[in-house]
């Protein structure tokens, strides 16, 4: 059995997460209710801070990861010999489980949000890098030749022809990275990074309602972020809509 001490060891200990208010008298808390509505109504505000922390964790990690991976992809797009080593390095960072990554970083960066952000950003690199490279590689050579024939410089070809045509793949990568990071950011609580994993670690597996609210919020957040990125991609690439229709 996982003991309360186990969870106490993990997060910043908040004793009696569910007992501080009148809630310890709520009837559905005493039983093995699947979901205690009365408690949820009274305590939903407890999830505000973890939710905001979670959004921050995800946005900062993904923005950092995107900036680095996108830059690396642009560099490797012109210098092809860089592609295999970059794929290997980002692949290793992607493969190392986040919980392990947090504590591999801990001797260097200590406990807390920064460590979580570095690990999460490192996780996203491979997805964004690979999709950007594939997207750029899929641009037909004839299109680039046509652009060259019109007198565009290599830089103009990259920004005005190649990147717009690769945008759907790049956005697909960003979307996958974003959705996965929302899910994985629940683990940041292990290293004291906050987020929606925090209430679950603090309370443990004894109170299902808490797990359902925190997990449900993270799940919803992932879906909402995924849909927002999908909508942005559709807006930014109107020519794709015409083809799809």
């Amino acid at each position: 059995m996982a003991s309360p001490a186990l969870f106490a060891a993990v997060g910043e200990v908040g004793k009696g997460f569910i007992q501080e208010r009148s809630s310890d008298t709520l009837p559905c808390q005493a039983t093995d209710a699947f979901f205690c509505w009365d408690w949820a109504k009274e305590n939903i505000d407890r999830y505000e801070t973890p939710t905001i922390q979670h959004v921050e964790l995800v946005l900062i990690s993904v923005v950092l990861g995107f900036a680095l991976a996108f830059t690396l992809a642009l560099i490797a797009h012109r210098r092809r010999w860089l592609q295999p080593p970059l794929l290997a390095v980002t692949g290793v960072l992607f493969t190392i489980p986040s919980v392990a990554f947090f504590f591999l970083l801990e001797p260097f960066t200590g406990r807390g949000r920064d460590t979580a952000i570095i690990a999460l950003a490192a996780f996203t690199l491979q997805i964004i890098y690979r999709n950007t490279i594939v997207g750029l590689a899929n641009v037909p050579g004839a299109v680039k030749d046509a652009a060259r024939g019109m007198g565009l410089t290599e830089r103009q070809i990259l920004w005005k022809v190649e990147l717009p045509l690769a945008a759907p793949e790049i956005f697909a990568g960003l979307q996958i990275a974003m959705v996965s990071t929302v899910a994985i950011a629940t683990l940041a609580a292990f290293v004291g990074g906050g987020g929606l994993g925090e209430p679950i670690l603090r309370q443990g597996i004894s109170f299902l309602t808490n797990i359902i609210i925190a997990g449900g919020l993270a799940f919803l957040m992932a879906i909402v972020f995924g849909l927002i990125l999908f909508a942005i991609q559709r807006l930014l690439t109107p020519w794709r809509r015409a083809v799809d229709a």
């Binding site: 996982a2 186990l6 801990e106 292990f190 994993g197 299902l208």
Partner: protein, 240 residues
């Protein structure tokens, strides 16, 4: 050389972690109890591998035939894609905690919870891999008298190997990573070293992180090797 690059405390904690892996030491909390050492590391490592293999096998049994069937028939595209996308949105910690709280702790429940993480990538990639095989190749196979099963086994699966394996590798990484937090659901894996800092100390935490990272990388490299073995010679040539 390394000593010159790393600050001393970091070096000391790495040394401590390596010592923890190989030789048992007394726990700094539970008086007199010894923790760490190669025997305990080996035991928890085997637990984690066992859990990962069980969950992966379960996910494969469920998702692979379904993906093959849907991909070959070319139906259920939105189903496979939606499941694949939703799967990524599942928060691992909440899933494990939910299964443990709702059904109970133990290896079987945890295997099911981990399989839930493995099914979406395998299903989506199997579907996409089979479905995107050139229809002309399939028609040619049908033309030379292959049965539907032969087409699947001898044409579609070999051509789809890279995509199929991308799904299996994604599932394996997700499962082995999440098996690390299995101690929350009462199954002791290497994650116990990481999560129970008050028992194993900081040496144990870093040792656990190192072994978990090595385990995940080893699994990934092994699967990449298996993929290379299963890829037909003709495909390797055409890629070169």
């Amino acid at each position: 050389m390394i000593g010159a690059l790393l600050p001393h405390p970091v070096l000391a904690s790495i040394e401590g972690a390596i010592e923890f892996i190989f030789s048992p030491q007394s726990s700094n909390v539970t008086g007199g109890k010894t923790v760490g050492g190669i025997d305990q590391v080996w035991e928890l490592l085997l637990n984690q591998i066992e859990l990962t293999v069980f969950a992966l096998a379960l996910a494969l049994v469920v998702a692979f035939p379904l993906g093959l069937y849907l991909g070959h028939r070319g139906t259920g595209e939105s189903l496979a894609i939606v499941i694949g996308n939703l799967g990524r949105a599942i928060p691992e910690l909440a899933l494990i905690a939910f299964m443990a709280a709702f059904i109970g702790v133990g290896v079987l429940n945890l295997t099911i919870a981990l399989a839930v993480l493995g099914i979406p990538p395998i299903l989506a990639n199997t579907f996409v891999g089979i479905h995107q095989v050139d229809r002309a190749s399939v028609e040619a196979a049908r033309g030379i008298g292959m049965t539907e099963f032969e087409i699947l086994r001898r044409v579609e699966i070999p051509l789809a190997i890279p995509t199929l394996f991308a799904g299996i590798r994604g599932a394996t990484i997700a499962i082995v990573a999440t098996a690390t937090i299995a101690p929350i659901a009462g199954v002791l894996t290497l994650g116990d070293f990481i999560i129970n800092q008050n028992v194993y100390g900081t040496n144990g935490v870093l040792a656990g992180a190192i072994v978990v990272a090595l385990l995940a990388l080893t699994l990934e490299f092994s699967l990449a090797g298996v993929q290379r073995l299963l890829t037909s010679k003709g495909l390797k040539l055409s890629n070169a």
